[in-house]
Amino acid sequence: MTKNRSTWLLLTPGIILFLILLVAPITNILDESLRLFVPGRIGAAKDAPYTLFNYTELIDKAYFFYLYETFRFGITVSLISLVIGFPIAYSIARQKSTLFRKLAIGFLIGMMFLNTLVRVYAMQLTFGPTGYAKFISGIFDISPNGRGYTELIVMLGLLHYTIPISVLTLIGTIQNINPRLTEAAQILGSSRLKSHLNITVPLCVPGILSAFLICLTLCLSAFVVPMVLGKGKVLFISNLIYARFSEIANYPSGSAVAIIMLVVSLSVIFIISSFVSSRWSTK
């Protein structure tokens, strides 16, 4: 009983915080999403009737397109982050020099302290018309004002965030794997590539999954990157939500989009986690 009481005492502040800062706002959003919006007003009136219109109007192929675009960018960028981040994380984790490891980790953490807007606008300057837009678009034979180039820059903007995070997430996982396992495989005749693919990578699956999900979450909720680098052509769901709340003051519609995005995101994360866990669970 004493142990249970102690446990509850320790959990209670967190639960209260969770209820106030997460559950209550989401409940408000859910309520707002079911209210009728009168155009020209600011949000729904307090006594606005309940309606499902804010959800039914989203059943349109255009909004499926935005969902698809958001997830396409998210999944693509997350996968690229893993492919680039894993070797970096491995080389840092396996460094013999403690100083080098600390400097590398410090550098990665330091990158995340840089102001978001400064970083995004720096990218806009670098890859925009005053920067290397013509040169880079020339390599791919695309217009610097075309959609292809815009998508490329948005992806680079997202990778700018997700690569350091995926590296930091994977370093811990790789450090927990005994390097002797890979060495043993190589001693028994396996090539370096095969030994890493068959030993290191499968053992890192929980960390890879965590890194992927963290990167995916960051991409799905990205707002500044598509807003600044997307040139208004690449829009994420977050941008639609922003326009409804900040520019049009249609809170009910914005809330409906937010709830749908929340449900879809949680579902996708659950499916991915379940699939990976069932296939690679350690017995």
Binding site: F37, P39, G40, R41, I42, G43, E57, D60, A62, Y63, F65, Y66, G128, P129, T130, S143, P144, N145, G146, R147, M227, K231, G232, K233, L235, L240, A243, R244, F245, S246, E247, I248, A249, N250, Y251, S253
Partner: protein, 358 residues
């Protein structure tokens, strides 16, 4: 005796009361003093904020806390609503369509000639009013939203609205999103094809052609986008208000206000709205009144290009000076109330039918 008042007890109580008074009184005084000498003003980015700061420095009666509009002018409304009845703003710089929303919400304080004597120099017909005819805002400038382009960077000369569809203009157009200019850009397209703000389908059809043509290089979301895109040569043609163009210093612009009747100019007023929640109304009106002096209005015009509404001030914006005949041909005063009511619907049409074509 029970409840005997001992010296120790008296000392404790007296000390407590004195301490409380010592802490509270200066704090209350400071708070009141701070409130009386500090004004919170919302304004647009450059060139407006720079000019307003100059005018505020010349006025000098209070410290000012500045807040910038982020995005379209209506973006301040959710912030006011979220904090109502105590939003942290006293005065908001805004324009015709947003005045309507603020008046409808009951956020705009009534202003009279006693509050702002310099309003006697303003045309009474252009002062935003509520349904009872009470003055609800203090307009400073009048201007237009129109097509403009940078001839040095544009592959062709723009003489007609249909030139926007020219295949030579790939990626050259900076198109405002619907939340900018209350979607007047599509109203302009509609008018060119026989429609108007009440019949927008011709405008949407035109915009779909434009989007599919590949001529739209960027969708602008705020004034910074416009200034940066035109200055860097990323795009060369846009539809924008005169004030924003005041921030474009590095590119020579050609304003298409009297070029062809297919290229319309939409006229609006902009100015101050003192919030009815403000604790500093007198100070706010005094500040607004100061910005209506001849010197202030001419300074405002010089910085933003908006035509001063005060009859005392002079201007030389001939591209926005219309004769009666020119006014009928080129200038439009839209139904702002209708625009505000339709903006939500238009934004959704833009999301569903236009962005997917870009």
């Amino acid at each position: 005796m029970k409840n005997k008042l001992s010296r120790r007890k008296f000392g404790k109580v007296a000390g407590g009361i004195t301490a409380a008074a010592a802490i509270t009184s200066p704090m209350t005084l400071m708070k009141n003093a701070f409130a009386a000498e500090n004004l919170s003003v919302v304004d647009w980015g450059p060139p407006w904020i720079d000019n307003t700061k100059e005018l505020a420095a010349a006025w000098g009666k209070a410290d000012i806390t500045w807040t910038l509009h982020s995005g379209g002018a209506a973006s301040i409304l959710p912030k006011i609503k979220a904090a109502w009845p105590n939003p942290p703003y006293d005065v908001v710089d805004n324009w015709s369509p947003v005045f309507e929303s603020m008046i409808k919400e009951g956020w705009a304080e009534t202003v009279t000639l006693d509050d702002c004597p310099n309003m006697k120099y303003l045309p009474e017909g252009l002062i935003p009013k509520d349904s009872d005819g009470n003055w609800k805002a203090i307009p400073r400038g009048s201007s237009g939203v129109f097509f403009t382009y940078v001839p040095a960077n544009c592959p062709i000369e723009i003489k007609h609205i249909d030139d926007l569809l020219s295949p030579k203009l790939k990626g050259q157009i900076l198109w405002p999103n619907p939340t900018l200019n209350t979607n007047l850009q599509v109203v302009a397209l509609a008018k060119a094809r026989g429609g108007d703000e009440f019949n927008m389908q011709p405008g949407w059809d035109f915009l779909k052609e434009l989007a599919a043509s590949g001529n739209i290089g960027r969708i602008s979301a705020n004034t910074s986008d416009v200034i940066t895109s035109l200055e860097t040569g990323e795009t060369s043609i846009t539809f924008v208000d005169e004030g924003t163009l005041g921030g474009v210093k590095g590119a020579k612009l050609s304003h298409l206000t009297k070029t062809h009747e297919s290229l319309k100019t939409f006229m609006f007023t902009s100015g101050w709205c003192v919030l009815s929640s403000s604790n500093n109304k007198k100070l706010a009106f005094d500040f607004a009144n100061h910005t209506l002096t001849k010197e202030s209005m001419e300074s405002y015009y010089s910085a933003t290009g908006e035509i001063p509404l005060s009859s005392q001030a002079e201007h030389s914006s001939n591209h926005l000076r219309f004769s009666s005949e020119e006014s009928n041909k080129y200038a439009v005063v839209p139904d702002w109330d209708h625009l505000g009511a339709e903006l939500d619907n238009w934004n959704k049409i833009f999301e569903k039918e236009i962005v997917t074509l870009l």
